[in-house]
Symmetry: C2
Subunit: 330 residues, 2 copies
């Protein structure tokens, strides 16, 4: 191949498969979406993944022959070295799906397989917020808290494909809030977007409290984390308290990683970063206050840059790493 | 060098420098001790380190010419890549001590430099409890909680030499006990040997409690963690509660690492492991209950095997790794 290599990355989510062709410098030449339709079963799902690969290539203006390798990122649970999705809560009723083999066989290309949160971190590390970092921890704040850890160009996968499940570290060992996973005290139970809403609704149920969010809840029938951050910006004191506590817990998570991984950079991504610089400054304030002096001073704390493209770009980064390894082994 | 290489490891502690010659398979040919005498200043301390190296070699029956490389482990704070101790609380009044350069210049040997807790973990990983592991987290339970993390033969040093400071992850984000480092809620404040004694003494001050430890305290004027574990074994209910809580908090720390590093093996070392298998089983019980199913089932949880030799053997392991890298680069 005399031209520089191109890679396809796809990011399989509960609702949508995002994909694109990415060049050797990390520029996306295309960005496509295909519905996952998980409920139709895993055979159908594998077909949709292949469709995403084909559309990503077609939209980029390249041909399949131009593609050096493919990367696939999926939610867990999974066996990363085996290339298999095991029993994914977000892709029911799938079980033991041999993703990597299927994609490799279908397209005849070297295929990399990675956890979606890890892939997003690898994408940000490659061409996003972490471009200058040597090691990085990414927290993706959404329904849950996804996490990916990159140390010197390597994704921390863990020995049982459970590396970087940092939403599920225990930050309140006594009387902890229940996490979606069924265990108490996890970071995710305090600081995900879902947790922000849940904590707000509980606070609103306490007698004697006044908050503009009561009215929002009445009118909309529900609340979003966005509503809470907006109300805080408008001066609502209950919302401000919730936002401040959320910043504190995210700082707790960051400090735990700074005292374990000690990365160059801690990055926050996901929908909740729409809360803006002021929120990030509150997180930074608590980190500086709580971390050891040297990491407190030197660890960069910032927002992610690739938005929802991080997953497929990171999947492409995994494909690129595989391609480079195969080339080096020749 | 036609014979297999030998390495010297030394482990610099607040009171004592331990050292020994270690062969290529991790067997210690000698084990010596030299007083650190930190208060006499860092020049003197560097001299004591050199003395430890010389005695280790002399006692082994080898000559200095037989030594391929030297490894030095010290407490932090430190700059590991630079080979410098910065501002060590346990080695006052030392400041900015160029340890690696001094040892390398004195003996004319390649010299590796590592944090003492990291070195202990690397020793256990090489020829101790973690011999079969591919990745390992070691908690050393003493005055504080030291920690070292090894992933695929690499010590996790961190970007600012603060990797694996897991005694200082936050496990009680609300109303946490104060840690020796001055921050609240750290694992070390709940589960070090010192914390066991402190929590027991506080409990004994509560009115209406009866415990055989009140008498022990009166007679001895002080308590040790050993006293508490002994009393628990003898059926003292207050001591049993403290031991059970300690096992719980150590499990919390282990689970946080299993959901971050996801190692093959979690190892507990330090004086407190004299508490025996029953204590380890309590830790395992809480880990299995709290960790995700796959790591809960597959992660080995055990006691360290090298005792207080782990540090110098691990320092020798660092020397060996350096020697192998230099050989590979030739």
């Amino acid at each position: 191949m005399s031209q520089p290599p191109y890679f396809v990355g796809i990011d399989v989510g509960g609702q949508t498969i995002k994909g694109g062709v990415v060049d050797d410098l990390g520029h996306a030449l295309s960005s496509v979406s295909v519905p996952t339709e998980a409920a139709k079963g895993q055979e159908h799902g594998l077909g949709q993944m292949c469709e995403a690969v084909r559309r990503a290539v077609a939209t980029s203006g390249l041909r399949l022959d131009d593609i050096a390798a493919i990367g696939v990122a999926t939610p867990g649970t999974m066996d990363i070295p085996a290339g298999i999705i095991l029993d994914p809560p977000n892709l029911r009723p799938w079980k033991n799906v041999p993703v990597r083999q299927h994609i490799a066989d279908t397209f005849g290309k070297p295929t990399a397989f990675q956890n979606d949160a890890n892939a997003a971190a690898f994408g940000e590390y490659w061409v996003g917020a972490g471009r200058e970092a040597k090691s990085m921890v990414l927290f993706t704040l959404g329904t849950g808290i996804g996490c990916g850890i990159i140390i010197h160009d390597q994704v921390l996968e863990g020995q049982h494909s459970h590396g970087a499940e940092v939403g599920h570290i225990i930050v309140e060992a006594t009387n902890g809030r229940m996490c979606g996973c069924g265990q108490p005290g996890h970071l995710e139970a305090y600081a995900s977007a879902t947790a922000v809403v849940k904590r707000t609704r509980e606070a609103l149920e306490q007698p004697g409290l006044t908050s503009c969010l009561s009215e929002v809840l009445k009118v909309q029938g529900d609340l979003t984390a966005r509503d809470v951050f907006d109300a805080a910006r408008d001066g609502d004191s209950l919302a401000q308290r919730i936002v401040e506590e959320t910043a504190y817990y995210l700082a707790v998570g960051a400090v735990c990683m700074m005292h374990t991984i000690d990365p160059d950079m801690v990055v926050f991504g996901g929908g909740m970063i729409a809360a803006g610089e002021e929120f990030l400054d509150r997180i930074r304030h608590h980190i500086r206050r709580m971390a050891f002096p040297v990491p407190a001073e030197r660890t960069a704390v910032c927002y992610a840059k690739l938005g929802t493209d991080a997953g497929f770009i990171g999947a492409a980064a995994c494909a690129r790493q595989l391609y480079q390894r195969l080339a080096a082994a020749k």
